[in-house]
Each structure stands twice: as structure tokens, then as C-alpha cells.
């Protein structure tokens, strides 16, 4: 049929357009493998931003290897209150970061390795990258049962997730990054990634929970260094470059001008919490005060991480109504943040005539409210 032959011809034409210089499919004229010397999640995410914004990837693709000290990383459009146990994070001093790529929430520690594949937007190909990783793992330990699913996960023994994927596409460049669980703390992982929240309504991207396993559990002789090296070697082979890993310091402004500003931006409250899509909280709690139990209902709308609308339903006259309305007025427009709410609440008490009784009631209410944040 005329139609079919035209289709075939057009497809062949696209082949040529897609790989202009080389005659065959997966080769690029150059590649670069870099590894971060830092374990700070914000610095490493900033390196990704920097490469995405400043590097010309026409003639070379880049593989970036990095590891972080304990951190929870949420996707671009996710809700941290929904995705993890913020109180536990703060107690354990685990950092919270929001990356610029999509996808779900992951837990990083030094037993997890991160791989970022940078290409031009045209050469963005997640499946190929993941197949490269699987090939590297199999080269290292042929008996490993690892494969890539169509959801871009890598599964071990057909059942356990050892890698999750996310990607970011810009105007001319793109990157695909994935995790790889070698020897992470599964106990901490499962406890921090469980949100105690009830009554949260949001359109943020939800994470899909999965059973995870470390490569180390399958083969205790495997270390992160070995896996990193294996992936680098496979990348070098496929890109026909030297198996040479360049170390970079994410704090070095001379090599990466402007990087420290990027790092700072990733740490701001406005980015980490403020970029949460609009959500509403409709919940309540019981307060035990002296001999009675009080039922309190709270409704809040949060936009850009700030309380847009606030409603607190208390038993009548338990607190002076003037003080309560002052609290609601002050909360409106302020950050949905325990620190800010604590400061606000304690300052408000100063300007209101109070005795010890009122002070303890006030503190009880505020402590409970703060637990919601």
C-alpha cells in the first residue's frame, strides 16, 4: 500500500535525523562520568540543576554518581506532609529535600547510590539507561535476578524494588535519575516514609509504596563502591570512552559558577514546603485537660505552604474568644510550619492578660495544633 511504504520511508528518515553523525543507534561521540565528593543532598541536587542549565550536551552525555547522608527526597509536585513522617524526620535530623524531577518520594542514605543520566532532550531515553544499569549489575554478579519493569522500576527477584526513577525535561536538555539500594537502612526507610496524617486532601502526586530490598541482602559481598564502579564501566563501554571518573566538589564556584546560589535555593522553605500544591486539612484531636477530654476540630486550606483559611472549633469559653480569634487571624497567612506557629502563639499570649491556668490551656492547644504541621 502506498500509505505503508510512505510510513516506512518516513521512519527511516527519522533515524537519520535522530543520529546525525554516527551511523548506528546507541553511540554518542562523547561522554563524561563524574562523581560528587559531597554527601549533602542539597549540594548534589544543585549539581544536577547546574549541569541541566549550563552544560552543552550535544557532543557528550554525562553520567553523574552521587550518594547522600540520610535524607528524604520528595518529587517536584508532591506534598511532604502526605509523603513522610515530618516529626520523625526532624527528631532524627534527617534532611528533607524537594527535587526538580517528578515522581515519588525516596529515602537516601549512604547505602543508596544515585545515578543521573544527562542527555539532550532528543536523546532522552529512560529504558536504555535502566537496561544499562541492569547489564552492569549482571556483569558484576551474573546470578542476580534483576530486571526493568514498564514502570521504570528495577526489581530484584521479580518482587522487590531496588530502584526508582524520575526525570526532568527542559528546553534543550533532559536528565533521568534513579536510585539503587545497596545497603540502606530499611528500618528507617519504612518508618520515615509512613505519614501519620489523616484528613489531608490534595492533588499532589502520590507515591506508590513498594516492598524494597537491598542488593547487599542478596549478596553480602556487594558494596556501594563496587556497584558504582560497575555502572561507570558499563557506561564507559557503551559510550566508547575511558573508564575514568572525574571527581567534582559541589561547593567549588570556580568549576561550577553559580552553584552555591542553586544550593541555597534548594534549601529555602519556599522551595521545600512552599512548592506544595494546594491542599486542605480537615482533622481533629482530643485534648486531655485535668479531668476532662476536649474535642477540637481543625480545618485549614494551605496554599504555597501558607495557611489561606483557618478554622478552629473549640468547646465554648474554654479559652477567651478574643484570644482564639486573634490566633486564627494570626495563623491566616503564616507558614504551615511548627516553628512559626510556636513563635506566633507564644507571642500572642504575651499581649493577652493571663494567669497560669490560661497559660497551660493555651500551651496545650498550641502544642496539639503544632503536631499537625
Amino acid at each position: 500500500m502506498v500509505l505503508q511504504s510512505s510510513l516506512k520511508n518516513c521512519l527511516q528518515l527519522s533515524y537519520v535525523f535522530r543520529t546525525p553523525k554516527a551511523g548506528f543507534r546507541n553511540s554518542t561521540s562523547g561522554g563524561l562520568i563524574i562523581q560528587s565528593i559531597s554527601n549533602d543532598v542539597y549540594q548534589n541536587l544543585a549539581v544536577e540543576d547546574w549541569i541541566h542549565d549550563h552544560m552543552n550536551l550535544e557532543n557528550q552525555q554525562v553520567l553523574f554518581l552521587w550518594r547522600n547522608s540520610p535524607a528524604v527526597v520528595i518529587g517536584r509536585h508532591q506534598n511532604p506532609w502526605q509523603e513522610c513522617n515530618l516529626r520523625l524526620l526532624r527528631q532524627k535530623n534527617i534532611k528533607l529535600a524537594r527535587r526538580r524531577s517528578g515522581g515519588g518520594t525516596v529515602y537516601h542514605d549512604l547505602g543508596n547510590i544515585n545515578l543521573t543520566f544527562f542527555t539532550t532532550r532528543k536523546k532522552y531515553e529512560r529504558m536504555e539507561n535502566l537496561k544499562l544499569v541492569v547489564k552492569a549489575l549482571k556483569a558484576l554478579r551474573p546470578q542476580l535476578d534483576v530486571h526493568v519493569t514498564d514502570r521504570y522500576d528495577i526489581l530484584l527477584d521479580r518482587h522487590y524494588k531496588i530502584s526508582g526513577t524520575a526525570a526532568k525535561l527542559g528546553r534543550t536538555t533532559a536528565y533521568h535519575h534513579c536510585t539503587l539500594l545497596c545497603n540502606a537502612d530499611k528500618f528507617v526507610l519504612s518508618s520515615v516514609l509512613k505519614s501519620p496524617y489523616k484528613g489531608l486532601k490534595s492533588n499532589a502526586t502520590p507515591s506508590v509504596p513498594a516492598s524494597v530490598k537491598n542488593l547487599f541482602e542478596e549478596d553480602p559481598s556487594l558494596t556501594c563502591e563496587m556497584v558504582l564502579d560497575a555502572v561507570a564501566e558499563e557506561y564507559a563501554t557503551q559510550h566508547r570512552i575511558d573508564h575514568h571518573i572525574t571527581l567534582i566538589n559541589p561547593a567549588d564556584e570556580t568549576v561550577l559558577p553559580g552553584i552555591n546560589n542553586k544550593t541555597k535555593e534548594l534549601q529555602t522553605w519556599e522551595w521545600v514546603y512552599g512548592k506544595t500544591p494546594k491542599f486542605s486539612v480537615s482533622t481533629g484531636f482530643d485534648m486531655v485537660y485535668k479531668d476532662s477530654v476536649l474535642d477540637v476540630k481543625v480545618d485549614m486550606d494551605v496554599k504555597h505552604g501558607r495557611i489561606e483559611v483557618c478554622n478552629i472549633d473549640l468547646p465554648e469559653q474554654w479559652l477567651p474568644p478574643a484570644l482564639c480569634s486573634e490566633l486564627v487571624k494570626s495563623l491566616t497567612g503564616s507558614k504551615f510550619c511548627p516553628n512559626e506557629t510556636t513563635t506566633l502563639a507564644t507571642m500572642l499570649l504575651r499581649v493577652c492578660p493571663h494567669d497560669d491556668e490560661l497559660q497551660s490551656r493555651w500551651n496545650l492547644l498550641c502544642e496539639n495544633l503544632i503536631m499537625l504541621m
Binding site: C10, L11, L13, H54, S101, A166, S330, N339, P353, C366
Partner: protein, 476 residues
């Protein structure tokens, strides 16, 4: 045969969107004539529908997650328009044109389709002919993205946005050294050229644009005209400064500060200042510091100041009191809950050490450590921040000597401690010696506290600190 192919290609385009990218690439060459015909019909203020370009991997629909612009905003080519998400990939969609946004076709969280209009942009006709949009994001070296400018018989590569910037500043592109690929002139090159000419402070660019690849291997050829221009000549060009005032509502923390400070200023303050010779205390602390360290506590000067204050309050309890709203009654507080002003990222917070009257200096130091680490982590609880009866503010750690502190209601007094300076002073024998001097500035509520009381309290507090052995006598 050629024409036949075009027709069949464009026909199939709308049936199988999967093949869109393939067809368009081949159709590029052939539809060139069609395109020119269409664009010549563009008139002033033409509204162009900017369609969502191909994401790759055969994706046909995405969710709109964030808009970076709103209707009525003006955009430049390459400015970010919105963020869309598809299957774990977050994509930044950038504008193909300079113009004004006239319509957003989707709300947040709606599904947007590849190939369908995303926004309507009104293009300013004075910029010249706008390139016809494609469904496909074309590769950087394609015809649409670069407009060649023929000046003095030599082509200068620059994007329309860069050309506009040059034109607005009366710069000839031939005089600017391009540092981009193929000596393309970038926005940074124009700004650098401007800075050299006018010595103006450049506004930071809102978003990093195409910046030369790292490392730069190509040597940039210098125009002979540039060599002659090495010496900056004062120019009558207007200095370009696009900084703008920023107004934002006061919220949260600052709102609370406004309330507290407004209430505080209703209190009639009076001040009393003095200088304390801490020479002996400095020595004492040096001895005790390692002993406290062994017990796991960092010992600063504050525990001494706090304990001395509490001993003083035992003699002058009116300074640890509270005046009621109607100024009818004074409540003498039994507990000395001494607040310590802390500077955090948010601003000023004042946690207090409870019941200092029954605490040892070491216990106070230990409690201070706890409050300080919680404070810097932003994890202080309401209990630590309420119930204070008297406050000390160690502004000296940042700097300064004398201050005029503001009383924090419902308290009636506050002390601000300056920094410790080494100054020459005369001793009893009339000799000059090196003294460690710190200044203190007290403020008190003049409705219930008079100058004499404040002075006597200050003297007692001073005597404890100048001669720590005296504290031992009165220690409870």
C-alpha cells in the same frame, strides 16, 4: 512524488499522534513554502496559539502542575511558561515567542494534550515575522531559532530576544563579541558589553540562559574594533537598572512581633546603664569551663549572669513582677523564669530557664545548652517560650556596647548585655591595668519601678559578677 508525500504525511498526522515527530521532520523541508505563505499574513498584535510540543517516548498527554505566568504577563522567548508532569517526568515548557500571554488553555491539574494549544500569545508585530510554531520541539540548530543579521557583510548569530536587548541599548551586534556556540551572541555578552561601556551595576538575570559550555575550548576571535575600544569611554547612554521595589504583606512571625512590640511600647520605659568589670569572672570561667566540658556542658558567661540576676531579684522582687491590664494590681511572681533572647533565622525568640532561684550555675548552663540546640533546630516547644518573668538579652555576642532594650510584656524589666572589651582602668593603687569590661543597659516599667530600685538592683548584680566569691556567700 514530493507533493504526494506531503499530503499523505499531513493527513496521517492527526490520526496517529505517535508518528507526529517523524512526519514533521520530513515535512519541515517541504512545508517551508506553505509556512512562508502563512506568516506573511501576520498582522500587528497577532494572537498565536502556542501548542504543547512533543515530550518524547510516545507520550500524548500530561498534567499541568504549575503555571509560571498568568494572563496579561509579558514573556520573552525561552522564558518558562509552565511545569507539566507525565509518568515521573517533570517537564518545563518554555515560550517560543516574545509577547503577551492572552489565554491559558488549562487549569492546574488538568490534562493537557500534545499538539493542542497550551497558551495564546499576542506577538508584537514590530519584532518582525514570528516563526510558525511546530508541533515538534526542533533541534537547536534549526532555522526557526536563529535569525541571521547581515551587518557589513558578516553574519551575526543572535536570538530575537538578544537582538531586542541590543536594539534597546543602541548596541551594534557586530561590535559585541559572541561567546556562544559558533560565536553566537548571548544575552550575557550584551550585558557584559554594556557594563564595560557604562560601568553600570548589572541586574542579575532572572534565570540562567544559554551559558558557554564548560570547559570552553574554542578561542573567541577578537574584532579589531574591540582592541581599539579597550579604554572605556564615558558614554551618555542611560544606565540600565531594572531593580524594583517589592511590597509584600506582613505575615506570621512578623505579624506577631508587630503585636508584641506595639503592646510593649505602651509601657513607659526608663533606662539605666552601667559598666561591669568582669576580669575576675573571666578567670573563673576559664577554670570552670573544662570541668563543665567533662560533664558534657558548654559553659558560657550567661549562666553566671542569670544566676546573679536571680539573686538580685530575691532582694528586689518588684523587678520580677507583673502589672495587670487595668494597672490596679501588681503580682509578684514566685518563680524566677529568666528569659534569654535568641536570634534565629526567623528572628527573635525568647525561651526561658524555669525556676532559676533553685538552680545551680551548672544546671542553668545545662538547660541553656538544651534551649540553644532546640532553638537553632527550630524545635522549641510552647512551654519553653511561655511563662518568662524577667529577660536578659546578650546582644554583645553580635556586637555593641549600650542598647535600649524593649520590655517584653507581661514582664516589667529587661537587661541588654554588650560585648566584653579589654580596656585600661585604674585599680585601687592608681595603676593602670587591663580590665575586661562589659556594659549593661537596663529598661524598666516606670509605672511600678523607680530609678533607685533599678540602680540598687544593678549594683547588687554588678557586685556579684565583679567579685564572684560574693555570690558564694548568698547562694541558695
Amino acid at each position: 512524488v514530493c507533493i504526494h508525500r506531503v499530503r499523505s504525511c499531513s493527513g496521517i498526522r492527526f490520526i496517529k499522534s505517535k508518528y507526529v515527530c517523524v512526519f514533521d521532520k520530513s515535512a519541515l523541508k517541504y512545508s517551508h513554502q506553505q509556512r512562508l505563505f502563512r506568516t506573511s499574513a501576520v498582522s500587528c498584535g497577532q494572537i498565536v496559539q502556542f501548542k504543547l510540543s512533543d515530550i518524547g517516548e510516545g507520550i500524548t498527554e500530561v498534567t499541568v502542575k504549575e503555571w509560571y505566568i498568568k494572563e496579561g504577563d509579558s514573556v520573552s522567548q525561552f522564558d518558562s511558561i509552565c511545569e507539566v508532569q507525565s509518568d515521573k517526568a517533570s517537564v518545563t515548557i518554555t515560550s517560543r515567542y516574545d509577547g503577551i500571554i492572552r489565554k491559558l488553555h488549562y487549569n492546574l491539574d488538568e490534562i493537557a494534550y500534545v499538539g493542542k494549544p497550551l497558551v495564546d500569545i499576542e506577538i508584537d508585530a514590530s519584532k518582525g515575522v514570528a516563526p510558525e510554531e511546530d508541533v515538534v520541539e526542533t533541534p537547536p540548530m534549526s532555522h526557526e531559532e536563529h535569525t541571521h543579521q547581515e551587518i557589513k557583510g558578516h553574519k551575526t548569530l543572535a536570538t530575537p530576544a538578544v537582538r531586542r536587548l541590543a536594539m534597546e541599548n543602541n548596541i551594534k551586534l557586530s561590535e559585541v563579541v559572541g561567546t556562544g556556540k559558533d560565536n553566537r551572541i548571548l544575552k550575557e555578552d550584551i550585558l557584559n558589553y554594556l557594563a564595560k561601556q557604562t560601568g553600570a551595576i548589572l541586574p542579575p538575570s532572572p534565570k540562567a540562559e544559554i551559558i558557554p559550555p564548560l570547559p570552553k575550548s574554542e578561542t573567541v576571535p577578537t574584532d579589531p574594533k574591540d582592541k581599539a575600544r579597550k579604554i572605556p569611554v564615558p558614554v551618555s547612554r542611560p544606565i540600565v537598572f531594572s531593580g524594583k521595589d517589592k511590597t509584600e504583606p506582613i505575615t506570621g512571625f512578623h505579624k506577631a512581633m508587630v503585636k508584641t512590640m506595639s503592646a510593649a511600647l505602651k509601657i513607659p520605659h526608663f533606662g539605666y546603664c552601667d559598666e561591669i568589670d568582669l576580669t575576675q569572672l573571666v578567670q573563673l570561667r576559664e577554670e570552670l569551663k573544662p570541668l563543665a566540658q567533662v560533664r558534657g556542658v558548654k559553659l558560657s558567661f550567661m549562666p553566671f549572669f542569670i544566676k546573679a540576676a536571680s539573686l538580685g531579684l530575691l532582694q528586689y522582687p518588684i523587678l520580677n513582677a507583673s502589672l495587670d491590664e487595668s494597672c490596679q494590681n501588681v503580682t509578684y511572681k514566685a518563680s524566677h523564669n529568666i528569659g534569654v533572647a535568641m536570634d534565629t533565622e526567623q528572628g527573635l525568640i525568647v525561651p526561658n530557664v524555669k525556676n532559676v532561684q533553685v538552680c545551680s550555675v551548672f544546671e542553668i548552663a545545662s538547660e541553656l545548652n538544651r534551649l540553644q540546640s532546640l532553638g537553632s533546630a527550630g524545635q522549641l516547644g510552647t512551654n519553653d517560650l511561655t511563662g518568662g518573668t524577667f529577660t536578659l538579652s546578650n546582644i554583645g555576642t553580635i556586637g555593641g556596647t549600650y542598647a535600649k532594650p524593649v520590655i517584653l510584656p507581661p514582664e516589667v524589666a529587661i537587661g541588654a548585655l554588650g560585648k566584653i572589651q579589654v580596656l585600661p582602668r585604674f585599680n585601687g593603687k592608681g595603676e593602670v591595668f587591663k580590665a575586661q569590661i562589659m556594659n549593661v543597659s537596663w529598661s524598666a516599667d516606670h509605672r511600678i519601678i523607680d530609678g533607685a530600685t533599678m540602680a540598687r538592683f544593678s549594683n547588687l548584680w554588678k557586685s556579684y559578677l565583679e567579685n564572684p566569691a560574693l555570690m558564694l556567700l548568698d547562694l541558695k
